[in-house]
């Protein structure tokens, strides 16, 4: 974008000219409160539900050696015999200090925060890398498909989108790992210091979001191309390329802002597959591990982090939408997107 265009966008970014700062702040505040409330509710529900789990998950490998009385003493010491409200209160107090409890079966007595903080970097790196890659590939693909609507490229792209959206990710991830590694002699497992081994996990993770970006971009472009102002511009003699880039693309980009957080959510689930397939030491692989070992406290910690990530993603998405699209109505109570 040129300097001139950026200057043009500035007022809408600041949210100043169109409805004033106060409404914007009010909206942000309301939305933030909503997110915090949601997070609070989720944490409470997750915590209460996990108390319904069988208690072996807290005893770990020592369970067989203990007599029932010993088990009872152990569980009481852990605070699991207290009323749920007390447990919940203690949990929130700990949470405020950044303490998520200790692992039981995964790495015994290691704090959950330590386990997760070792892993979170990889997940974020891969997630954001995949989103970036899919933006770089998906958006131009969608534009090209809209441009060549009905021709072979459009059909090929549509086939790709249908395949990726319809077939469960696990299936094509496995096939990519199985055949592409043979084909290009790529390493099958992730190795931090071998940059070649980053290629496959990143590209497979980007396949899904690429398809959805291309799909939305194409749809909005086609919608936009059918509008009257485009016909007028054509009639005026605006060049096809200027038309595409200056008029259609800008308007088609606006609703895309909404899907960015959704794809970040998607990369979280995607990473569960990819991380365990390529043994990347990230949070997704960890989740699979601890679920299979029934380590309740780590599951709880991970679920909290995943849902917070999701909520932050949606919050930012709504914010981006409010800033980018001047037509959106803010502050109307009870409105649904």
């Amino acid at each position: 974008m040129t300097k001139d265009q950026l200057w043009h966008l500035l007022p809408s970014f600041l949210g100043v000219k169109r409805w004033g700062v106060r409404i914007m702040l009010w909206y942000i505040g309301k939305r933030l409160l909503q997110s915090v409330l949601t997070l609070f509710i989720i944490i409470t529900i997750v915590f209460s539900l996990l108390r319904l789990m069988p208690e072996e998950g807290y005893l770990g490998s020592a369970a067989e050696k203990m007599s029932p009385e010993q088990q009872e003493v152990y569980l009481t010491n852990l605070g699991l015999r207290d009323p749920l409200i007390v447990q919940l209160g203690n949990f929130y107090l700990d949470l405020l200090h950044g303490d998520l409890g200790t692992s039981v079966t995964y790495r015994t007595d290691v704090p959950v925060t330590t386990i997760i903080s070792d892993k979170i970097g990889y997940s974020l790196l891969f997630g954001l890398g995949a989103v970036a890659l899919s933006l770089i590939v998906g958006v131009p693909l969608g534009i090209l498909m809209a441009h060549m609507k009905g021709r072979w490229l459009d059909r090929l792209g549509t086939g790709y989108i249908v395949f990726v959206v319809a077939v469960p990710a696990a299936v094509y991830y496995i096939f990519i790992q199985m055949y592409v590694t043979d084909l290009f002699k790529l390493p099958m497992l992730f190795d931090e210091y071998n940059s070649v081994s980053w290629i496959l996990p990143l590209t497979s993770m980007a396949l899904g979001p690429t398809a959805s970006y291309a799909m939305w971009m194409r749809r909005y472009m086609v919608d936009e191309l059918n509008k009257d102002y485009i016909k007028l511009a054509r009639a005026k003699g605006v060049k096809e390329r200027t038309l595409m880039f200056k008029h259609v693309m800008r308007n088609a980009f606006i609703p895309m802002a909404q899907y960015l957080p959704a794809t970040i959510l998607f990369t979280i689930t995607g990473s569960i597959y990819i991380e365990s397939l390529y043994s990347i030491p990230g949070m997704g692989g960890l989740l699979v591990d601890v679920i299979q070992r029934q380590d309740n406290s780590v599951v709880q910690g991970l679920v909290l982090i995943f849902s917070s990530l999701g909520i932050i993603g949606l919050f930012l998405g709504d914010l981006a939408m409010a800033i980018v699209d001047p037509r959106i109505k803010l502050g109307k109570g009870g409105s649904v997107r």
Partner: protein, 324 residues
């Protein structure tokens, strides 16, 4: 004045049958004047038939469903859960490549892959249909209440704004982690998350439709709300409901694969496509055994893609804008 009134009062005496004849509908003549015998479902079906790929896939899906139901009763079928013993060696018939005896080979503990795949397809399709049905029923009920009742609108919206923020995957994982794996728990876990989108969709449509004049007229005539919803509003939504239902099936099948993959799926004694793919994945390092992964994956891909394309084609066909 007097003359006219006399004429009018005597009008019945003057009339006789010769003055009247029956109106006959002639479609060809009628078409010239702009009459059309438009029927929504007929036109929908006509424009659906134009999409040859979708029709072909519809036939394929129909055949698969029929075959899956009939398959256990056909001759030469083996049990999906029985472990077969090799008669010569007396040990389990492990990892036998596809042959005339075992059509798709056997798995790593000697079960017949052919019958396991169809049993698995049956399970997965069953899960898909039940989840889709539950989604539609719950989604429509909540959505209709949400859109139609002004008292319930604000509270449901508030609840929705919170529920919508919870990542679906997390709910799915958590529910299946807490409930023990079985078909019913998997269905419950998926139903808990599935209906929200549907409800929102129905609500948005109903809000658009509810204040149209014909509904206002209905209301003034004293039609009860449930009748307005069922007779006046839902027919508008049928096509989209069908679309969402046909899309819910591949997503439910995919979710089952996902849950199995992370170790929260059905027990191995209960064959499903997710189970089979997961079993096959373990063996993928040895190229000779890859058939155990490829067969279920191909069946799964065909089913999910077919439902997806049929759903989309049907939605296009059901849109009156695309009718001639």
């Amino acid at each position: 004045m007097g003359i006219f009134s006399e004429e009018i009062s005597n009008i019945s005496q003057k009339s006789n049958e010769k003055l009247f004849d029956f109106a006959v509908v002639d479609e060809q003549k009628a078409e010239q004047t702009g009459y059309s015998n438009y029927s929504y479902w007929h036109s929908t079906w006509q424009s659906f038939l134009k999409n040859r790929l979708a029709v072909f896939l519809l036939v394929v899906v129909g055949l698969i469903i029929a075959f899956v139901i009939v398959q256990p009763y056909l001759p030469f079928q083996k049990s999906p859960t029985e472990i077969y013993i090799d008669e010569q060696t007396g040990s389990q018939a492990r990892n036998i490549s596809p042959s005339s005896e075992f059509w798709f080979g056997t798995n790593s503990i000697g079960q017949d892959l052919w019958s396991r795949i169809w049993a698995g397809t049956r399970t997965s399709l069953f899960i898909g249909f039940v989840v889709a049905l539950a989604e539609v029923v719950v989604g429509i009920s909540v959505g209709a209440l949400w859109g139609f009742s002004r008292k319930l609108e604000a509270p449901i919206t508030q609840v929705y704004n919170i529920v919508e923020n919870i990542p679906t995957t997390i709910v799915l994982i958590l529910m299946s982690y807490i409930l023990r794996p079985s078909i019913s728990t998997i269905i419950i876990a998926m139903c808990i998350t599935g209906w929200v989108e549907m409800a929102r969709f129905i609500r948005n449509q109903i809000v658009i439709l509810r204040d149209r004049e014909y509904n206002l007229a209905s209301k003034c005539l004293g039609t009860p709300s449930y009748r307005i919803i069922i007779k006046n509003l839902l027919p508008y939504l049928i096509s989209v409901i069908m679309l969402r239902m046909s899309l819910a099936i591949p997503f439910a099948i995919g979710a089952e694969v996902f849950l199995t993959y992370i170790g929260l799926g059905l027990p191995i004694s209960e064959p499903s496509l997710g189970n089979l793919i997961n079993e096959g994945r373990v063996l993928m390092m040895s190229p000779d055994l890859r058939y155990q992964l490829i067969f279920p994956s191909v069946v799964l891909s065909i089913i999910t893609i077919a439902f997806y394309i049929i759903g989309n084609a049907f939605a296009d066909a059901a849109d009156p804008k695309n009718h001639v």
